[in-house]
């Protein structure tokens, strides 16, 4: 029952997003623009590119993510749809997880579209160990979405919500972004994840679990005044 | 060591007090603003009550 409600909310969000493609298009375009701008910030042909590739990729993902996450609750404002969802029998946790899942899928789409583009532009090996790449993407993006969706709900009625969300989100996501950058850099330079690197995987998993639990526990307080 | 060492020590101590004083000033200014607002709202309330 709970899972079906989660799925209903998620499917609703995905359907309306795929129909307008507002968040998807803008965040994809934004991410690609940032990747392009990076080529002017340093020599794109240099060998050190692999050493900073993780950082570059995750910075553009983080910027793109803020655009998607902003829309998550903002899209409910028109016609007071958020109220309609809150007074429906769906528990706050199901509503939250459904919306988080939808944003997560959208963010993954953007990330997976950027990865090959980055690989081509900057001549790095992204296709080897693709499974590992996906693993890191999923873990870090979930952390980013779960906190981002929560803050999207927190800031939805604020005046400067578009500005507010990134300012609240980024400092808090530094541990997750740090791990993701490190692991992606390792993968991009052709190494395997093992030994010392596991600590970062464990950190990502820990962050995901802790923040998901915190968000699910507190979302009802946020939604119901 | 040298004189620079000594000067920077005083910079350090000065920094502590400058930050504290700036914060205290901001508190005092906020206090004043709040008092003014409180007076304004009280007066507005009395006006409205008198009109009823």
């Amino acid at each position: 029952m709970f899972l079906r409600q989660v799925w209903t909310v998620c499917a609703k969000d995905l359907r309306s997003e795929l129909r307008t493609k507002e968040a998807l298009n803008s965040s994809l375009a934004f991410a690609l623009t940032i990747l392009l701008l990076f080529s002017f910030a340093f020599d794109p042909g240099a060998d050190q590119i692999q050493e900073i590739s993780g950082g570059l990729l995750w910075m553009s993902y983080a910027f793109a993510g803020a655009l998607i996450l902003n829309r998550s609750f903002a899209r409910e404002l028109f016609n007071d749809c958020l109220d309609a969802l809150i007074f429906s029998p769906v528990p706050g946790a199901a509503l939250f997880l459904g919306k988080a899942l939808a944003s997560f899928v959208l963010l993954l789409i953007v990330e997976l579209a950027c990865l090959p583009v980055f690989g081509i532009f900057y001549n790095v090996a992204w296709a080897d160990r693709f499974g590992w790449h996906l693993f890191v993407l999923v873990l870090a993006s979930w952390g980013l979405t779960v906190v981002g969706t929560m803050f999207s709900a927190l800031t939805v009625n604020l005046r400067m919500r578009e500005l507010m969300l990134p300012m609240l989100l980024y400092p808090m996501m530094i541990p997750a972004l740090m791990s993701a950058m490190h692991l992606t850099t390792v993968l991009m330079s052709g190494q395997a994840i093992g030994g010392d690197h596991w600590i970062w995987v464990r950190l990502l998993i820990g962050i995901d679990i802790i923040f998901t639990a915190l968000a699910v526990a507190l979302v009802e307080v946020v939604l119901v005044g | 060591m040298d004189a620079r060492n000594f000067t920077y020590m005083f910079y350090g101590f000065a920094a502590v007090w400058v930050i504290v004083v700036v914060y205290v000033i901001s508190l005092v200014m906020r206090e004043g603003k709040l008092r003014r607002e409180l007076d304004g709202v009280r007066r507005m309330l009395e006006d409205k009550e008198a009109k009823r």
């Binding site: 309306s16 028109f78 007074f87 029998p89 | -």
Partner: protein, 232 residues
């Protein structure tokens, strides 16, 4: 068991009490009109009853359950200021979505039936974005009523509706009352409300000043209660 039982509700905005010690009970089948001036707390009270916001003190039971209980909310239908339907979804998708959120058994079938009921059957697959105002309002009525809720909460339902939507709303309301549903509505349109209301509740600056069966005098003179309880 009462449909709604409010036991000493207090709702604060900061230090300001928007609701002060509200106690009342609504028996099933009653139609209660919430009256009071702007800012008296009608909308706040309705929002508390709908589970949109929580009172800081006192408890509110809907059919014997706390309002944030899923089953309690499944038995409430709400029609508020906003229409609560999605622009990027079709009328059918909207109704099916809310049908399944409310646990209606055959959500798709119910959605189709209600589309016909509110005469949107032929445009059911168009996006709400393309709808006129009146069509949206009729869709909102369908959204609020499609799970046949035993308790209906309506906030200013007749304000800004066109004639056709008013007629539709009155028809489905009458039908709901006939099958034994409880209706609570806040309104400025006293005349329309008085024809439906069996009971009235008057709020003044967050305090409950009158609750009881609708006085007979109000049919002829809807403002009778206001004058009687010392309000201009």
């Amino acid at each position: 068991m009462n449909a709604v039982e409010a036991g000493g509700l207090w709702k604060y905005y900061g230090d300001y009490p928007a609701l002060r010690d509200i106690r009342f009970g609504v028996e099933p089948g009653q139609c209660l009109a919430l009256l009071g001036r702007n800012g008296a707390g009608k909308t706040t009270l309705l929002r508390v009853m709908a589970g949109l916001t929580a009172a800081q003190r006192g408890e509110l039971k809907v059919f014997g359950r706390p309002v944030r209980d899923g089953q309690a909310r499944a038995s409430i239908g709400v029609l508020g200021h906003g229409i609560g339907v999605y622009e990027e979804l079709s009328a059918f998708e909207n109704l099916r979505l809310f049908g399944s959120l409310y646990g209606v058994k055959d959500a798709a079938g119910t959605a189709r039936a209600w589309l016909d009921r509110v005469s949107l059957g032929n445009v059911g697959d168009s996006l709400v974005r393309e709808f006129s105002r009146g069509m949206r309002q009729r869709l909102a009525v369908a959204r609020a009523f499609l799970h046949e809720p035993p308790l209906l909460l309506l906030d200013e339902p007749f304000t800004s509706l066109d004639d056709r939507s008013i007629a539709l709303l009155q028809a489905v309301l009458a039908e709901s009352l006939k099958r034994g549903a409880t209706v609570i509505l806040s309104t400025h349109q006293l005349r329309e409300a008085m024809e439906l209301a069996t009971h009235v509740l008057l709020l003044d600056r967050g305090k409950l000043t009158f609750h009881g069966p609708r006085p007979a005098e109000m049919l002829a003179d809807p403002t009778w209660l206001y004058r009687r309880h010392g309000e201009a």
